[in-house]
């Protein structure tokens, strides 16, 4: 438990309305978007300035109490779950856009700024912030930095790390550092790059300098239905092999289409399709037109029934509605939804997807796939009832087997959700002891006491041995 003196320090620093300790209120902060892992914090604090974050961190260090940063709590790997008896530092109120420099195409923001709000703010200037995770209307840029968030348009524009050029960070001992530079193209040691995607285990981001991109002159979205999702994936491989890099290349399978089309997210996806591809092209009109012609040819060659092209914002939004609402639509099918996140080489999609389907069939679980096909970033989704221990056990087993299939195909554990608490145990399946030890050494250089967000990403050395042994047993 948090000592009363520490709570007193927080209340004196922040006032009672920015320091929550009521157990009933704290319930809302015991997990993130992954509800498997729940730990109720001892206190939740709401700083509004870097100095307050610094003071909170120093107070926690002095009291030897663990502390965990949290944005909007939309993470899907348990990264923002507090440590037992720990303090949650909630950044929702550090939500100011501090500067927009249109000439140099950068914006400086506090970490609690919601992702979509930045793009809305700079749109009148002809600019946009490119990373667009599915939760972008809710998730914060600080959380995006912690997770190195992706999104459909990261295929062309890159993930969060490509777009955050400088960070102000409170280190786990309370010191403040600036990492990177808004003069983006320097070189040397890139602590900024190491910190992004470290899931809040190396430092607490208190200010972010974001790179902005010009809004493309032309955007075209293509919808292509196929008989099977595997046919759709073969078309994806052909597009990539042809050297075309669309802005987005997304896939939805039959079960997802049905869920979407029977929900408020209905987008008009063909009911007879076993899978659809959404392909978005953007840029100069001449480039978009030329690439569109080439891609249409490839799609039809690979079995697309037809192609629906959307060139105006309303039509494009309609086609995207189903993709963006897919998780919400599937959430209606059962009380709980398990969203897996793994990546395989994109050429392996046609063989990996059927293997995942067989796993879920064997375990009697309903599988739906909606994923970033252009990057090989899979999101197998399983609807289930978390109140049923048998279903939960089968879902966990499916997750493990899906991971194994992806790793055997040369893939990795996570493309955008992170490791958090969810996949720690799988890390030894991908990395050797020395690989993991290097990560521990990196963490120790920033966070030697491990008071900042402890117990995330890296398994204990003992767990490494146990998991590798378990993985060798027949499934």
């Amino acid at each position: 438990m948090v000592p009363p003196t520490l709570l007193h320090d927080f209340e004196r620093l922040l006032g009672p309305d920015r320091c929550l300790t009521d157990p009933g209120v704290l319930l809302a902060y015991e997990c993130d978007g992954l509800t498997h892992f729940k730990v109720r914090p001892s206190a939740v604090v709401f700083p509004t300035t870097t100095a307050e974050v610094q003071a909170i961190v120093r107070a926690c260090v002095k009291a030897e109490i663990p502390f965990t940063p949290r944005g909007a709590g939309t993470g899907l790997s348990g990264g923002a779950v507090p440590a037992q008896g720990g303090v949650l530092i909630e950044f929702a109120r550090m939500n100011r856009i501090l500067l927009v420099d249109a000439e140099n195409r950068v914006a400086v923001v506090q970490p609690g700024v919601v992702n979509a709000r930045l793009s809305e703010t700079v749109r009148p200037l002809g600019l946009a912030y490119a990373p667009d995770p599915s939760s972008q209307t809710v998730c914060t840029l600080g959380g995006n930095a912690a997770e190195n968030s992706g999104g459909p348009h990261c295929l062309k524009y890159g993930a969060t790390t490509n777009h955050l050029v400088a960070l102000e960070v409170v280190l786990p001992d309370g010191d403040v550092v600036r990492l990177g530079s808004e003069r983006a193209f320097d070189n040397g040691i890139d602590l900024r790059g190491l910190l992004i995607g470290s899931e809040g285990t190396l430092g607490l981001v208190t200010e972010i300098t974001c790179r902005l991109v010009p809004i493309p002159a032309r955007i075209e979205t293509l919808l292509a239905p196929f008989a099977t999702i595997v046919d759709a994936c073969r078309a994806v491989s052909a597009i990539i092999a042809a050297g075309i890099l669309p802005a987005a290349l997304e896939a939805l399978d039959e079960r997802t289409i049905k869920a979407v089309e029977s929900s408020v997210y209905r987008a008009g996806y063909p009911a007879n399709a076993g899978g659809v591809l959404l392909v978005e092209l953007d840029g100069h009109p001449a480039e978009v037109d030329a690439q569109s012609a080439r891609i249409r040819e490839i799609l039809l060659e690979h079995g697309a029934f037809n192609i629906e092209a959307a060139n105006d914002p309303v039509h494009r939004a309609k086609l995207w509605k189903g993709r963006k609402g897919a998780f919400g639509a599937m959430g209606r099918l059962a009380p709980d939804l398990y969203v897996q996140d793994a990546v395989v080489p994109r050429s392996k999609l046609p063989e990996v997807l059927p293997a995942i389907g067989r796993i879920c069939d064997e375990l009697g679980l309903p599988l739906a796939n909606v994923f970033h096909a252009g990057e090989g970033n899979l999101h197998p989704n399983i609807s289930y009832d978390g109140r049923d221990p048998d279903q939960v056990a089968r879902v966990v087993e499916a997750g493990r087997r899906i991971m194994m299939v992806c790793l055997e195909a040369g893939g990795t554990l996570s493309g955008e959700h992170g490791i958090g608490l969810e996949k720690q145990e799988f890390m030894p399946l991908l990395f050797q002891d020395d690989d993991l030890q290097s990560m521990r050494l990196a963490r120790a250089a920033f966070n030697p006491q491990e008071l900042l967000n402890p117990g995330k990403i890296l398994p204990t050395p003992r767990a490494c041995v146990e998991v590798r042994s378990a993985a060798r047993k027949p499934a």
Binding site: E103, S181, R183, A184, G188, I189, G193, A442
Partner: protein, 418 residues
């Protein structure tokens, strides 16, 4: 000492792979210290060399193609010059996934030759000559003219295997194009000049060769006209592959250089737009594209300063510089990224830059409006790197802890100025 090192490492690698040498780095620099040149034939041999060096507490200088001389040690103690020359295999070219896994000693140009038949290429250019290796390029970590279109060098690394200073081999990342599994340690290794580990192999993102490419040059007698043209193109033609302002020492014109790459229709349409925006229909100059350096180093004796500044600062910087100084330097500014390269002969360099103890002081009289307000990337002057902005003590402490964690006996090179 040298004899002893020769004996110990000769026993490890065989006598043919161990040579006493003096470094010929093409510089008129202070005489380098004695060293032993090790030429391991495999990753395992290289790792064994580092382990032995760690045990013997002998310092190691990794070397790729010997094309970035500023990386060499200038301290007086004997050390091991550990070459990646024979680590030159393409381990896997997954053409259908646009990725390639290679060993660190492979020459960039050789890899490019191997990728060409598949219509693919690296997402960065070799700006250091034919000997430059992948490992060396990553260790130096400089961005170049492809940065606007393809992104920064450090974002092209999908995975990496390194040997740390204590001989431990560690892998980070993987072979897929999107990955948030564990810490992205490749970000730490790129640009750290081998301070935390020596790159053994890496997996890189590739790009498809564009269907069409060209270069358009607009020459201006007056710097102000060139800057205006550059600003117009930057504001109204966002789809350019690159946009640079260049000036060659001793020559009069200021040149706006535009590169166009993509579908044939794009290159044609954009070319027309550029002419319309800058000069109307007259005086067209369309050239084949060469993505390499715009103003190549005039001689290996020339000095170079690279700086990263805000794009909006380029015009004030140039307008504030002494005109005689400007006429004597070669200058390339990437108007999109703010990456600036300035090169000069040693006399000019010495006259304007060397007398000061740091470049902040040296450039201050030349740039009164910008003193202390832009980041120096690096400068080669007697191979000393000058930090432009002072690192904070807290950041230095983190770097120092990283260094001691990854290289506990400090056998690897010192970290570059942070």
């Amino acid at each position: 000492m040298i004899e002893s090192l020769l004996r110990r490492f000769g026993a490890l690698l065989g006598d043919k792979s161990v040579k006493p040498v003096l470094v010929d780095d093409g510089e008129t620099a202070p005489h380098p210290p004695p060293c032993v040149h090790l030429l391991p034939r495999s990753q395992d041999e290289l790792v064994a060399c580092v382990r032995l060096a760690f045990e013997e507490r002998v310092r190691v200088q990794p070397v790729g193609g010997n094309s970035a001389p500023s990386a060499f040690r200038r301290d007086p103690d004997p050390y091991l010059l550990l070459s990646t020359e024979f680590l030159d295999r393409v381990i896997e070219h997954a053409a259908e996934d646009l990725t390639v896994t290679v060993e660190a000693g492979l020459a960039i140009d050789e890899l490019s030759d191997q990728l060409r038949p598949a219509g693919q290429k690296l997402p960065f250019v070799n700006s250091r000559g034919p000997r430059s290796t992948i490992g060396g390029h990553l260790a130096v970590g400089q961005d170049g003219p492809t940065a606007k279109a393809y992104g920064r060098l450090r974002d092209q690394i999908l995975g990496m295997t390194v040997v740390h200073g204590d001989g431990r081999v560690a892998r980070t990342g993987g072979r897929v194009v999107k990955n948030v599994t564990g810490f992205d340690l490749a970000k730490l290794y790129v640009g750290s000049r081998g301070a935390f580990g020596i790159v053994l192999q890496t997996t890189l993102r590739l790009r498809a060769e564009e269907r069409a490419a060209c270069r358009i040059e607009f020459d201006f007698a007056d710097l102000k006209d060139a800057l205006l043209a550059g600003a117009t193109l930057r504001a109204r033609a966002p789809d350019l592959f690159s946009l640079q302002l260049a000036h060659a020492a001793g020559k009069s014109p200021w040149r706006i250089q535009v590169r166009l790459r993509g579908e044939e229709a794009l290159v044609e349409a954009l070319g027309e737009e550029c002419f319309a925006l800058v000069r109307g229909d007259d005086d067209r100059r369309i050239l084949p594209d060469q993505t390499g350096a715009v103003a190549p180093t005039e001689s290996t004796q020339w000095r170079e300063l690279r700086a990263g500044i805000r794009p909006s600062e380029i015009a004030p910087l140039l307008n504030s510089l002494d005109s005689e100084f400007l006429s004597r330097v070669s200058f390339v500014a990437d108007l999109e990224t703010g990456l600036v390269r300035m090169q000069s002969d040693p006399e000019t360099w010495d006259h304007y830059l060397i007398p000061a103890s740091s470049f902040t002081g040296a450039l201050a009289p030349l740039t009164p409006a910008l003193t202390g307000d832009f980041d120096l990337i690096e400068a080669h002057a007697w191979n000393v790197l000058f930090p432009w902005t002072a690192p904070t003590r807290a950041a230095e402490a983190v770097v120092s802890r990283l260094k001691s964690n990854f290289d506990p006996s400090a056998v690897l090179p010192k970290p570059p100025a942070y």
